[in-house]
């Protein structure tokens, strides 16, 4: 168990380091841009505002939050303190609603949508890839081009196709929102059913997007493992084929887990765009609203939250991987 603790500690330190850097980037990037960001952004923000007092309040809020007149380390310190207290500022576009409140309302939708969808896509993709590698022949010849095509299909494209086919033409599922527009969130059967029905199209879009790439990766890994020397040796020691297939798929699966950790950022990105197509009330849609409303605090906080989510997902996968693959522990023991 010692070896695993070492692995865990290394990964935890790495996770925290990445977090600090992501945080720094989130803080620094907008400040690196040419010109005076406060002037530019406040002008942009107040342009569309009708209420003079609102505009004034936003300006003050923004100047205080950004605090460009203070030295950068002080600005950063203030930013850190605010974020640590859960204070992500006040939204420009939905003034005077706090950003934390807006994000709080959307983050649950995103997690409930993306987490299961990516896992299901990963499982289906891997099973198909493994089958293609094992069965070869016709199945492989049909599945592979489809997988390559689907994996290159843009995420929003898949969402649009699903929306048009199942939402507009067949009318099986509603085309937008997280629940019926005439309902108020409540624990009633009607509301729950509405949520389930609205869930389907975004969910399956994300699943379909994830399948292709995973299937291709798994197929390559499984073909590689099927040709490995241990397969031949195990066969010649009289071990049954299905047992060997078990070894192969377990071994091929392991790099796919690391692969998931590495690609989860990209997958979440695609899924956020899919949310936009379905006007799903998650972070993607919030982000879009932020962009449309030139809502700097909202975008900054949303990207920070998304980064943290991806980092946590990544960290969790690495931790699980360490438990499953014995080689990790062996490597740490050296």
């Amino acid at each position: 168990m010692k070896a695993y603790q070492k692995y865990f500690t290394t990964k935890l330190v790495w996770f925290l380091t990445t977090f600090v850097f992501a945080f720094l980037l989130n803080f620094i990037l907008p400040r690196l841009m040419p010109g005076d960001p406060v002037a530019v952004i406040t002008q942009r923000v107040t342009q569309g505002m009708t209420s003079q007092s609102g505009a004034q309040a936003v300006y003050q809020q923004y100047a205080e939050q950004f605090g460009t007149n203070k030295p950068i380390w002080e600005q950063f310190f203030k930013y850190v303190v605010n974020v640590a207290q859960g204070d992500l500022g006040v939204s420009f576009s939905q003034y005077p609603r706090p950003v934390a409140d807006i994000l709080g309302a959307s983050i649950g939708w995103t997690i409930a949508l993306q987490f299961p969808a990516i896992i299901v896509g990963w499982l289906i993709g891997n099973s198909l890839g493994a089958l293609a590698a094992y069965l070869k022949g016709g199945f492989d010849k049909v599945l592979m081009p489809i997988s390559i095509f689907v994996s290159n299909f843009p995420a929003f494209g898949m969402a649009v196709i699903m929306l048009v086919v199942f939402g507009v033409n067949l009318r099986w599922f509603p085309t937008s929102g997280g629940y019926g527009f005439d309902l108020i969130p409540s624990p009633t059967a009607e509301f729950v059913w509405s949520v389930i029905v609205h869930y389907q199209l975004p969910f399956w879009s994300i699943v379909l997007i994830s399948i292709g790439g995973q299937a291709i990766g798994m197929r390559s890994m499984a073909i590689y493992e099927l040709n490995a020397d241990y397969v031949k040796y195990s066969r010649f020691m009289g071990i049954k084929d299905w047992k060997i297939i078990g070894y192969v798929f377990r071994n091929a699966m392991l790099p796919q887990i690391t692969g998931l950790a590495l690609s989860i950022g990209t997958m979440v990105g695609g899924a956020l765009v899919a949310e936009i197509i379905f006007s799903y009330p998650g972070l993607g849609f919030t982000l879009l609203n932020g962009v449309v409303g030139q809502d700097y605090p909202l975008i900054s906080a949303a990207t920070l939250i998304i980064t943290v989510m991806v980092l946590i997902a990544n960290f969790s996968i690495e931790i699980i991987y360490g438990l499953i693959d014995p080689r990790v522990k062996a490597a740490q023991a050296d």
Partner: protein
């Protein structure tokens, strides 16, 4: 080298991908030579004109008339004017009047009208029918009679002095003009978009811009990745540690988050297509750096590299002659993938409203975004988004197909 090329072109996947890609590329190059309109010219006063051939009504009145007696002309005219709603209403009335539902086919105009003519009686009272409904059916019957009338239309012109209309001619139902002789005809193979711009011209221009964005982003990403990978792999030690630290950071921090932050900070006005391409390039070099580094490390201690070192060649010389040629295939494959993901990244950004500024040139992503904002998908205006999607998919698919083909040539273990 020749042998490698021959092998590459023997790979079915590569050739298919290459053919699709070249076809798209040629399309974007040749089309503007034929149709020279500016891609963003607004020609349609209205949104989403469906695909088809647009013939000037005014000009066709002045064209030479030909009389054609076509048997199905009447029928086609009526069929095209009788709306789906009317057909359903006719069916409802007929069913209510006691005609068996199985006998009625709303798609068969001829039979439907015959049944209507035979059975309709304005005086017949149908239980449960409102007065408004009854009046609707009377009007419907009248308009059907109008449809069936064989009279032509009268052309009139206002007299400049009196203002009274004077008949200048008639148009018979059997009058035809030859489209070739009509002065103004416009073929819109993909209709118009929400702003009334010719979709096809716009799409071709957008494809070209998106390809350029992809190339610029891909080349920047590949150059950064290649440089960092070479330095990390060949020099090793603290340089490697430092570069790998940064690379690992940017592997985990999602690149689209950086893209969003940077693009938003740049602001709409400064965000031209080229800027977007550069930003994409600067946020997507990670995989190339990793792959190149791994390759270089495996090459670093090969005999020919050691020999070169012993011969006193400079590091630059060794990298150029003893390392680069061996990783060239990987770099090319990485470049292809970078180009295709650059195109996708631009599209994703545009959908978020962070694409290039909309006034200069269209991109595939911007076209998608316009279609989304104007709800082309929900309204069933397929021509506004489907061709764009297919183009994006074909470009990225062809590139990945080429990549898979190359991969199979260079990594024989992956062959079927």
């Amino acid at each position: 080298m020749n042998n490698t090329l021959r092998q590459i072109f023997r790979s079915g996947k590569f050739v298919t991908g290459f053919a699709i890609f070249v076809a798209i590329l040629l399309g974007t190059l040749i089309y503007p030579l034929i149709i020279t309109d500016a891609p963003l010219t607004i020609i349609g006063q209205g949104t989403f004109f469906p695909p088809g051939i647009y013939v000037s009504v005014y000009d066709s009145l002045g064209s030479t008339r030909y009389t054609l007696d076509l048997g199905e002309a009447n029928f086609n005219r009526i069929a095209s004017r009788l709306s789906e709603e009317d057909r359903i209403a006719i069916k409802e009335w007929l069913v209510a009047a006691g005609i068996p539902e199985a006998d009625i086919d709303t798609a068969d105009t001829q039979k439907l009208l015959t049944q209507w003519e035979e059975n309709f009686d304005a005086k017949k009272s149908i239980p449960g029918m409102t007065n408004a409904k009854r009046n609707y059916y009377v009007r419907l019957d009248k308009s059907i009679d109008g449809l069936l009338s064989a009279e032509g239309a009268i052309l009139a012109q206002a007299n400049a002095e009196t203002g009274a209309l004077e008949q200048t001619g008639t148009v018979e139902q059997s009058d035809f003009v030859n489209v070739q002789q009509v002065a103004n005809v416009r073929f819109l193979p993909l209709g118009t978009d929400n702003f009334g711009r010719d979709m096809l011209t716009e799409l071709v221009a957008a494809t070209r811009v998106s390809l350029i964005i992809g190339f610029v982003a891909g080349i920047i990403a590949t150059l950064i990745g290649l440089t960092l990978g070479l330095l990390a792999g060949y020099i090793g030690g603290p340089v490697d540690d430092g570069i790998m630290f940064i690379t690992n950071l940017f592997t985990v921090i999602p690149s689209f988050v950086l893209l969003i932050l940077i693009s938003f900070s740049i602001g709409q006005e400064q965000r031209g297509a080229f800027t977007v391409a550069v930003v994409i390039g600067f946020t997507s070099w990670v995989w190339t750096a990793r792959a190149v580094r791994a390759q270089v490390i495996s090459l670093r201690n090969r005999d020919h590299v050691n020999l070169s070192k012993l011969s006193g060649h400079s590091t630059v010389h060794i990298i150029l002659t003893d390392i680069l040629p061996y990783i060239a295939s990987y770099v090319v494959m990485a470049l292809i993938l970078q180009i295709s993901s650059g195109i996708l990244a631009e599209a994703g950004l545009s959908i978020l409203g962070l694409g290039p500024k909309t006034t200069d040139v269209p991109t595939l992503g911007l076209m998608m975004n316009w279609a989304r904002i104007y709800q082309a998908d929900i309204q069933g205006r397929w021509w506004a988004y489907l061709p764009v999607l297919v183009t994006i998919a074909m470009v990225t698919f062809s590139m990945n197909l080429m990549n898979t083909g190359l991969d199979q040539v260079f990594n024989p273990a992956l062959r079927d």
